[in-house]
Point group: D4
Chain length 208, copies 8
């Protein structure tokens, strides 16, 4: 079951000690462990125990690889609108990689400069699943879903201020998209988008 | 002051009798009268008194022309995303015309089919002010404002359902746009958008 | 492009005449046409023109088949919590069928009677994609996603009253699910769920 | 009246000095005092005066026992979904104990892993009242109330992020539950749940 | 299991035919059936089949008694604030009776006339569980819970206008009560309150 | 105009330097100056210039008396529900005093202990205007307005947590009160309540 | 107590029969009865019993005078912003008259035409209490309170559309006013404003 | 394209290093760079590289002038209601200047003191576009738009507390204005207002 899939620890709201203890317990099972929402001091503590732990400062992820690393099979494209959306986009990208996908990144293609997006049609065609990460008004998901035949997973981010209401604006935009083929996850939930993308690509591989 | 500008009656919440009486009073002043949010029976009653009243079923507007009709000077483009947005778009278009502007219409250019929009670049270049009318997720305003140098007036519509919350989704989208040069008016307020557009084009004419 | 996929008309907010005219135009292109949110009188008018139009009273869908009917390939399971959710569930089921999927239905398995749901594990295992339709508190999506490895598409419905706020409760439940592998669509958007499901199954078939 | 029931101090928004003074005043009456939402420094200050004060770091409660300690009579089960819900669950558990109940704890039984919950049916049968503590989407209350005949008291927690809106998602879930026999208290109000549970078990004992 | 408890049909959102068919199916099991949210025409249709069906116009409930009628054992007091709250209060009262409780009613005791409420202390003392039904600002629950030792079940109603937001005001009031011992159910959910009350009184009887 | 009324400075969002400079400018006009929302360091800085400045730590007010101090004439009663409401209640009380009223305080009379409130009927009768300050569910205003003939000014406070939404619960309660004769001010606006109370008592004195 | 004050019936949500029966009961007490939110058919039914009942179509009020009619003493000014606000303004005006006040009306003085308002300074000076009724953005209350020394009672109305949210916009405006001396009542609550105004003027008369 | 227009960096959510790097890259293009939402330490870092960088502490803007400085042509008036609105007003003023406009400032003209505003009619007449910045209830935009023929750009600010909801009150006020000719931007978005104003004045200059 869930072969090759990592165990996951959500660090937010846990103490450093708790995270280390959980990672230790999970690694005992000889499965790769992914920790999300991990600050640098959490990483330092994990590395003290697992010296091969890999940290991404931007994504705030720790990975401790165990067991056999599966050959990447699915093709996931992660697109994002602005630079402030990068942490969420990278959480998605790292997660998708750990879950056995080829990942390509296509950042900074917000809809206010539509031509930058139109230059990326080939990348869009390459993907089996597309994750679109966007804050502010979150319009990127609609434009991408209009251009692509593949399933699009939309991640609203809390980037913005004022009438953005901490990501509500982008969330509503994505739920109300006039384009079809879009599934939405919670605000800032890059992990959840990649988990859904991986459930999809795993089925494709499984259906081969 | 406000030379050549019509008097305006907002019919919503008024009885037919009240509207007829107000139109009669205003027409006495020899100025053109525009009535918005006017159903067909209101129009019938107005036409009984002013046989030259002009009705738009779609825009739900009545116009009774009086005094000299000014030469159209401003150039206003009205764009809309979906067919359900047409009543609001037409309210804007008729109002802008009555207020002395050339109006061009560019409808059904929602962002899910971005190429239809990109085919309209010439129309966009023609305009002095662009009114963008959109419901659902309202993303059109951002894309247009990214393509155009001119002021963009965004009108969210109440078209949609569920997490659209009667136009709130499109309103928040437009207020949070990552493109600059956008001013937003109330949900479904086609009249208000055209009034602002006309205040802008009038200044341009005034500055000649 | 989108081979074998139907053209779609969203009838809500359109007059019967408009729908008939659009269906006529689209059928000219020799592609199957699916009309959603269609009341009985809309159906009568369409049938007057296309005597082979197929209507589902419950789903409020009309289908006019044209061109070759593709062999069903994807496997989509539609689950729903209560009987009041049936119209949305059927909109999803009919759409998924028209888009070339085998569809199985598993209704009335709300979480208050968890054993009825646990009796359906085989159906769950059969599916490539699972659509979960639920109103009230919408908890079914979390339980199903916990049981299944496959992608789950969650459709909150507006069924409920009081602090349900027309589907907001179920929507928030689904976005905040503690289970992973869930993508959410707009409240009552059965069509959108099926379109996403079909984008997924089509990729699987395409990846064969 | 309220025989054997403790006096309660809600520390949030009070200075350490104020809490100490109130505890001193209340203990004078020879009744047990329970202080909730008490940080460690508040505890240190109370202990300086009452060296037998008992602190729970997790529950953030202080208890100073006075008078005769009543024999525990009611049977209260406290269940919780995730580890981040523990502080609220423990506030409920400690309060229920101080109010004269046997308390059993059943933690980490979120609905995404329904089988862990189904393994606990015996504990469920043991209880007279069940307190269900859950954040995120709060679906646990519905599943438990479906399994149990007893009154269920649901406590939404503020655990979550994004469209959780600080516990609103779980609150709405619990209010809209499709299962019956559930009463809901305020977000994070573990104390209030236990007070209601104790009002219920006290009536049972009283009706003996 | 749930001995003596009725089967329940929630009529809202069901056609008359559907309700009749469900009632017929359930009565076959020789258990009493309670239908809530039933309009008069639904009742007429049920009575055509079950001539002994009992209707309450105010509560909008139908009861078809079957099997042995249990001796009433629990003592439930239903209090309400204003006359517009009566339908919800009666839904609670009828449900509690059908579920085997003695029910007393104490209506029109809103907090703006506190002395009318204080005249009812004896009734309050009689009860094992108190259901408080209130719209507008819903303050009655706090005052009653301050006067009573017993569990209080608070039912906010949608009675009110303007900043009442269809019952939200009363709901928030009840959730934030400064008195303890209160469990809240959904807006207008008289049935749910009685079901919880009955789960409580049943435990008391069970603990005898 | 506004004879005997103080000048007022709202310190929130101003630097200490700005406040000192404004107080100096206003005192030049020989009128009493009241500063609200003033922390201790602001007070220290003001006292360095005006050694007779009077500070209330609880109310967070500074008063610098200048000109003739008017004889107190109006009679204002300030009531509050809980101890956490005291800062707002004191802001109201101090303001009402500086504006020329006799002020009596009646604190800690929340509705969960209705008898404490009923013991205060004489104080209620004494007042010309009653200010009611309450957080949590804010029910005190309704009960007091039911007992009193005089105008009641209700001040919701932000005291509470969870579904209190920073004072929204108490605000809605007060706006929806079933008792009449209540005017509501903004959340935590003790100053505003006293300003309105003083506008009322001033008219009474003026009408003498 | 409340000498000369009418009994009041709030008709909304009551049947015609119920209203007639309540009016009959109250008139027995020889006190004037005021019924608010009364449609024409309710009036017809009341007039069949009390032929001297006085109806205001605009205010939707019925008055049956009984006992001695008190000499009007207080001076209440009712101001309103737009014509759609008239029903609420008249509900306030009629109520204030029945409660023994001289009432002057000053309608159609919205802030978009500030000079019309500035022409009314004498009326403003005449009043002891000013009721300001406004929908849309509700800004009138702030401007009037800035011009007047007297207490201002602000009544937001539900007039507006889109982002007005049924009166929420005007309500928030009035609660956040930068002018002081304003008390706010519920949306559309003309009655409540007049009741508060009368509580104020009655105190003034009482203090003579 | 956008000749003479600056490049813009939005610093919020970026590290000091990122801002410096972006400014360096943009200045290479020989265009003026404007950085908004820049704290003092960001400015120090930029000045270390560009010693001619100009900082406004109040507006939190940095400007590095490059290329030819265009002759100011447009006439933009920035008005604000209270002193706490100054940072947003200055962000608008500085931006409008950098974008080639004459800017006049008219601060502290809140509607509670309407005569201060009426003293500024000449300034209002001078402007081609008016930016109105206001927090609290945001009523200033309506009054100004009623006095002026020119386009008005309304900027709600987050200044306020309680039922202000971080600027929501002012935002709704501005969207619902009874005056026409108003376009609204996001809460606190002084930059956006000036960008729209400049799009307007640029068209006027372009139309010369
Ligand atoms: N960034 C994230 N947001 C939401 N859920 C997450 C995230 N990262 C991990 N999770 C979920 O959290 C679970 C682990 O939670 P826990 O047991 O509390 O550490 C995983 O199985 C994931 O489903
Ligand atoms: N569709 C509309 N939406 C909002 N405001 C409108 C609309 N049409 C007209 N108005 C405004 O309504 C004013 C007339 O209102 P009234 O005096 O009530 O008829 C005009 O001056 C316009 O500013
Ligand atoms: N965690 C809690 N949440 C809400 N209310 C509480 C909590 N703990 C105690 N209380 C209530 O607070 C009251 C004491 O409040 P106070 O007098 O302000 O200390 C108790 O009687 C309880 O009803
Ligand atoms: N606590 C308060 N809440 C709201 N408004 C206040 C408060 N204290 C003073 N004010 C108002 O703030 C005004 C002074 O504001 P400012 O000129 O910004 O200092 C006074 O005239 C009062 O109307
Ligand atoms: Mg697509
Ligand atoms: Mg642009
Ligand atoms: Mg799963
Ligand atoms: Mg149960
Ligand atoms: Mg109690
Ligand atoms: Mg009263
Ligand atoms: Mg004033
Ligand atoms: Mg104007």
């Amino acid at each position: 079951l869930r072969k090759g899939f990592p165990e996951v620890v959500f660090c937010q709201g846990k103490t450093t000690d708790q995270v280390v203890e959980i990672v230790q317990r999970l690694c005992g099972g000889n499965r790769t462990v992914l920790a999300t929402r991990a600050g640098r001091e959490v990483y330092e503590a994990v590395r003290a125990v697992f010296s091969d732990a890999v940290y991404s400062e931007l994504a705030r992820t720790i990975v401790v690889y165990r067991g056999e690393r599966p050959q990447p099979k699915g093709k996931v494209l992660v697109m994002s609108a602005g630079t402030a959306d990068l942490p969420v986009a990278e959480e998605a990208a790292v997660t998708a990689e750990v879950m056995g996908n080829h990942v390509r990144r296509c950042y900074d293609v917000g809809v206010a400069g539509i031509h930058r997006l139109l230059d990326k049609l080939e990348m869009i065609r390459w993907a089996q699943v597309i994750i679109v990460v966007a804050g502010m008004e979150g319009a990127l998901a609609s434009v991408v879903a209009g251009l692509a035949e593949q399933p699009v997973i939309a991640v609203p981010t809390s980037v913005g201020y004022g009438a953005n209401f901490h990501g509500l604006a982008a969330l509503l935009t994505m739920l109300n998209s006039c384009a079809s083929g879009i599934g939405v996850v919670n605000i800032d939930n890059g992990f959840g988008a990649a988990a859904l993308a991986s459930a999809i690509t795993r089925m494709m591989v499984g259906s081969e």
